[in-house]
């Protein structure tokens, strides 16, 4: 486990989550410090996505507590504040019906911004190499493009914690490389990222902290230098 608790951005304690009478998440303690990359890895069904969803405020655990910068995280209608600090990239992102630009503007509008939204969206699209798709309808995008657009949605938000669920699944080598570069850019900007992946080697150049999950438990927690 991470040992430096003082600057923990998010802390999980005694998190248990069940599904159909089976414990799918059983995390005794996990602290993620501000800045840096944490990689969650493990087999299918190990609990990676569930852990990310709990951290994102999208799924309430059955037991346990989550604190974000020391404040206990709420869920449901009370969880809006937390959801505006943490953003999650879905494994297979859902994009709303409409243009790509509208999709990327959705987050900043939801956050209550009313100036420079389009500019922010265009910058985010440029960062993911999709500025040329700005007027394309979201239904006309390939799987890899959808993923990059969804990533742009997160970049346009400037969230404190970015959670990426299998960002390189079902994308080609080139897109995978682009995503790694984007993560590096975010890390250089001092952001905190948690990424789940089946292929931790992919993240090795980013020198992450590596947490291995098995049956919902964190069985190893190491720094990968």
């Amino acid at each position: 486990m991470s040992r430096n608790f003082k600057d923990a951005l998010i802390e999980l304690e005694g998190i248990k989550l069940g599904f159909q009478q089976r414990l799918i998440l059983d995390v005794e303690q996990l602290q993620i410090s501000q800045g840096g990359l944490t990689v969650l890895t493990g087999a299918n069904g190990a609990g990676k996505t569930s852990l990310l969803r709990v951290m994102a405020g999208l799924q309430e655990s059955d037991q346990g507590k989550i604190r974000f910068k020391g404040d206990t995280v709420s869920y449901g209608s009370q969880g809006l504040e937390h959801r505006r600090k943490v953003s999650m990239l879905q494994q297979e992102p859902y994009l709303f019906s409409g243009s790509v630009l509208k999709q990327v503007c959705y987050g900043p509008i939801s956050h209550g911004l009313n100036q420079g939204i389009e500019e922010k969206a265009r910058q985010a699209l440029e960062a993911v190499g999709c500025l040329g798709l700005v007027n394309r309808h979201t239904r006309q995008l390939s799987g890899g493009e959808k993923k990059r657009i969804a990533y742009a949605c997160l970049l346009a938000l400037d969230s404190e914690l970015l959670l990426l669920d299998e960002p390189t699944a079902q994308v080609d080598q080139e897109s995978s490389e682009k995503i790694r570069k984007l993560i590096q850019m975010q890390l250089d900007a001092g952001k905190t990222l948690v990424v789940s992946t089946h292929q931790p080697e992919w993240a090795k150049p980013l020198k992450p902290r590596l947490c291995m999950l098995e049956y919902g438990r964190i069985v190893s927690d190491t720094r990968w230098n």
Binding site: R53, A56, G57, L58, S77, L80, R83, R84, V86, S87, M88, Q90, E92, P93, Y94, L95, F96, S97, Y106, G107, S110, H111, A150, C153, L157
Partner: protein, 228 residues
């Protein structure tokens, strides 16, 4: 066959000559149908969304209750509302019986289960990732609901269209609560019932044509809205 053909021609003539009785009935029909569809939507859309997106004790029973309402005989609705609105009834003081507002009350009871069930079905069918996408991008619950409504706008427009079609073609409630007063509560359907009983087949056809045209225009408009 000649009788049918002549009736149809007579009907067309009345429509194109602007027969005031036909257009009065059409105006009343439009008023009560739009009014009741609007109120039914204000109840049915949020209720359907709530039922689709939440789980609570008794949800199954409540859904069955709504499904029962879908098959509720319209004369029974008319009778019950009549009882409430009649002078001896609890709302008799409001003087709503035999007024367009009285018809609207009955039609809302008829239409809201339709909008609710259609909305519930449409929202239940949304990909769960859509809600999560909205939430993770920091949308409030209201904005999330609005986003999901936009995602299933085809289903919702069908809900409104089905409600409108149902209330515009309703006879029992309109007669019992409206009283078929010419120029005031006489709708196209009640006028058709009355005129055909009097043997005025052509007049009935004219009214029927206007009713069909109204429903056709509504369908066209909804198609346009869906494309927006």
């Amino acid at each position: 066959m000649t009788f049918l053909f002549e009736g149809f021609l007579e009907g067309l003539q009345m429509v194109f000559q602007g027969n005031p009785a036909v257009y009065n009935a059409a105006w009343v029909t439009l008023k009560v149908s739009f009014g009741s569809t609007l109120i039914a939507s204000l109840i049915g859309l949020p209720l359907g969304y709530f039922l689709a997106s939440s789980s609570f004790r008794g949800k199954g029973f409540f859904t069955v209750l709504l499904q029962t309402f879908l098959g509720f005989p319209t004369v029974v609705i008319g009778l019950l509302v009549y009882g409430f609105l009649s002078r001896r009834g609890p709302f008799g003081f409001a003087d709503l019986l035999f007024t367009p507002s009285g018809i609207v009350i009955g039609l809302v009871i008829l239409a809201f289960p339709i909008t609710t069930m259609f909305t519930m079905t449409a929202v239940s069918g949304i990909d769960p990732r859509a809600r999560e996408m909205a939430l993770t991008l920091g949308a409030s619950r209201q904005r999330t609901a609005w986003t999901l409504f936009k995602e299933v706008r085809f289903g919702l427009i069908s809900a409104l269209l089905a409600s409108f079609g149902r209330v515009a073609s309703e006879v029992g409630i309109a007669i019992m609560l409206g009283g078929n007063i010419e120029g005031y509560t006489r709708t196209l359907t009640t006028a058709i019932a009355l005129e055909s009983m009097k043997g005025e087949f052509g007049f009935g056809i004219a009214l029927g044509l206007v009713l069909l045209t109204l429903i056709f225009i509504t369908a066209l408009l909804s198609r346009y809205v869906q494309k927006l």
